[in-house]
Amino acid sequence: MIPSVELLWALAAAALLLVEQVRHRRSLRHELKSLRSSYDAAIHRNDELTQASDKMGDLYRYQLLTSRKRAGRIKKVLEIATSINSNLSLDVVLHEIVHAVSDAAGFRIVLLRVLNEAGSHFEARAFAGLNREAIRKLEQRSVSREEFESWLKEEFRVSRSYFISHEKKFWGEVDGEGYTPELGVRQEGEWHQEDVLFVPLYTKDGAAIGYFSVDDPVDRGLPSREAIETLEILATHAVVAIQNASLYERLNQSMAQLEEATERSEEVAELKNKFISTVSHELLTPLTAIRAYAEALLEHVGSTTVDMQRQFLGVIDEQSLKLRHLIDSILELSQLESGRFRMVREPFNLTELTHEVVSILGSMADSKKISIAVETVAPEIVIEADRELLRRVLNNLGSNAIKFTHEGGTVTFRITIEGRAVRIQVEDTGIGIPKEGIEHIFDKFYQIDSSLSREYPGVGLGLTISKSIVEWHGGEITAESESGAGSRFTVLLPVSPGDAHVITHASWTPSRSVSNHLTRLTVEMIAEVMNARTASFMLVDEERSELYIRAARGLREDVVCGTRVKIGDSIAGWVAKHGQPLLVTNIEEDPRFGRPNGHQYETKSLLSVPVKIEGRVVGVININNKISCTPFTEDDRALLSSLADRVALAWKRVSDHERSSDRTEETAKALSAIIENARRSRLKLNAGSMAGRAVTVGRKLGLPEEDVEVLAYVSSVHDVGMGQIDLSVLQVPGQLDDETWAKVALHPLRSAEIVKPIEFQEQVTEIIMAHHERMDGRGYPKGLKGNEIPIGARIIAVLDAYESMTSGRPYRNSMSHVEAVQELRANKGTQFDPRVVEAFAQVFESEENTKLVRAGEAA
């Protein structure tokens, strides 16, 4: 049957379809599966993307935030750097800078050190990310310039910064900056807690004025080039900011100084006005009386008795005398104050002058039945001063004492000697000075009470004049009194102009290691050796970067205690800053000199040298008012520089051995011997000319400058040992006996021993030891020959011989310059070095030099 075939086809087709369908479904399923997995993958990726994008967003937001903050900081730094803002102190500026560095470069810890004004040390000035304890430690430690420079090694350099990896083991035991953050567990290639990155702050001319050092990076990584560049850009701005701020600070200081000066000049102007109106009032008062009495007399001549007329004329006479006296006093005072007078200093007997004054005052005292006496330690006290001016002082003090003492009282003049000063006291049993009056007693026209001035007439200028006279002599005058119990005026006067006493700074504290006594000797030694009336020793106050006077001779106490000089300012400040000596021939023409200081400076020349210990300026020595009244020269500079070196050494040794009183004593002995020697040699030779000649000859022979300085010094001290020898042995004409000769022969050795505590150059000892050696080996003490004798000693031998020949000794007549040079030439080769003799002859042969030498002979 046919339908069954059709069924079969139908069945087959259905089976095929089924198979096909099954296959399709299979592939569909497969497809679906793969679709599903890619979907899954897609979903997964999407998550990832979202996550990533979220992360990106956060990061972006963070960066936006920090960069805004950062931008703000940087903007502020830029503002600070470029503008001078009156409200910003340097500390505020520095604070902003370190925080900007921290934010912008991504370091949690930032330290900024700035070079101090003296230029010697870097001080910690600003911090970020450090606790108080760490800050305190950093502030206590300053980094010396040398130490800082030792870090700047090429191997550490990155761009303009320096990265010192802990791996370099550079710091060794010592941690360079002394702070170590706890960074926790560290991965390979991360920042190590002992790594140091620092960026010097260079000015335009390449000088480092400070540096940043940074630590604990936010990203924990080693510093990237970018971070370093950021740091360096900020460093450039920091330099500008620091410079601006310090400029501004200095500007402020100058402004303050200017204001002070203006104020002072206004004060002076006011004082001047006040003075003029007081003077005119004082002058008009007697004139008014004269005029009124004269007119009244004229008008009423007919209606008055002779007695009355006589009384009127008496007033006129008295008042004209007063007027005359007043005018004289005012003129005298104005001359004293302006310095337009000639002071004639000559030696005279003070005891004698006092007796003279007292005998003149006698009649005045007698009329009041006042006993007047002189008490003196010696009948002859010779001082070098202006006799007439001192007579004025004694007369004024004496007549005041009598004036203010009741009948039957006593007035006593008492003279005592105190070292190189005399003390004159004028004491009375009078009415005394009230407490409130004592500080004005030396003021112009001051009178205790005008009701008293009727009883005790006077013009009120006497004490002012006396004070001025005493100060011109380098002395001081003081008054003590108790109301009703009498007064005592004390005048302290240097025996000779060179002896103005050394005053030490009152506020000095013993912790600064060198005693007042030693300081005084130091100043004394400098003044004596340099033949300067005025000498001061200033020390550096590091904290305030100022100089103050530690001790001075020839300056008033208020000047000694009140003077402070900024490092860099005026002459001493310049010297301290640059560490170089400065010779000023005319202070009035030198811009560095602040203001001329009245009568402190009798001559216009001054010399200032630094005192350095281990290369650091610790003080400055200034001298002026040369006793000869001539300007200082390059020779003086050489001598003072070498003295300053000794002073530095002595101070260092003494302060290093603070507890060793031996050291102090030895130093004091050396200084005293040099002082004595200088005083002795001033008696036989013109001031400083020995050192001067030594320098001239040394230079002529082409010695290096250091040797010339040594020579200047040695020529001033080589005979200190002579002080140990009884000089009377040299007064005996003829040959010295063996014993005396032995003593004399030992003096080079003694000299060398004495200066040893302040000596550091072998050379000096060698020269001192050999200055009596002869070229032919017949000298003493060692019998050295020719070139075995140091050149310095050969020079000094010639100068010594010349000096003794031309100045004459008790046992030998003096020779002229020409004769002396002939004698030197005759002995060249045997006693003297021919080269030295010729150099000496040449430099002093020219007419001008001969004159100079002659001038030396005359003095």
Partner: protein, 133 residues
């Protein structure tokens, strides 16, 4: 018969003496004071008709004394002549500001001072209402 009572104030005794003399010769009664405080005392006790007053004096200066006199109802009618060595315009102006009636500079002519006093007292006498008439 006194022409009137005059208080002379000056710390310079010679000036006080000569004014005492000159004014006495003119017929005035003279009382004196040597400083500012004394002057105010005397103004109260002596009730002078006119005051000659120095400026630079201890304790209380002439300006103060004058101001004091001119600010008190009891004494402001008394004419005050300032007599001073302070000769600048500002000094004079200050004198008139504190109420002085005249300002004469030292050195002065006693004759002229007396004339000025006569003038001032003449005026004030006529200006002043008669006490009893």
């Amino acid at each position: 018969m006194s022409k009137g009572k005059i208080l002379v104030v000056d710390d310079e005794i010679y000036i006080v003496h000569i004014l005492d003399f000159s004014l006495g010769m003119e017929g005035y009664e003279v009382v004196t004071a040597l400083d500012g405080e004394q002057a105010l005392e005397k103004v109260k006790t002596e009730k002078p008709d006119l005051i000659v007053l120095d400026i630079m004096m201890p304790k209380l200066d002439g300006y103060e004394v004058c101001k004091n006199i001119k600010s008190s109802a009891a004494t402001q009618h008394i004419p005050v002549i300032l007599l001073s060595a302070k000769g600048r315009n500002v000094d004079q102006k200050l004198g008139f500001d504190v109420g002085a009636d005249d300002y004469i500079t030292k050195p002065f002519s006693p004759r002229k001072l007396v004339e000025r006093i006569n003038q001032l007292l003449g005026q004030t006498v006529t200006e002043r209402p008669a006490p009893s008439a």
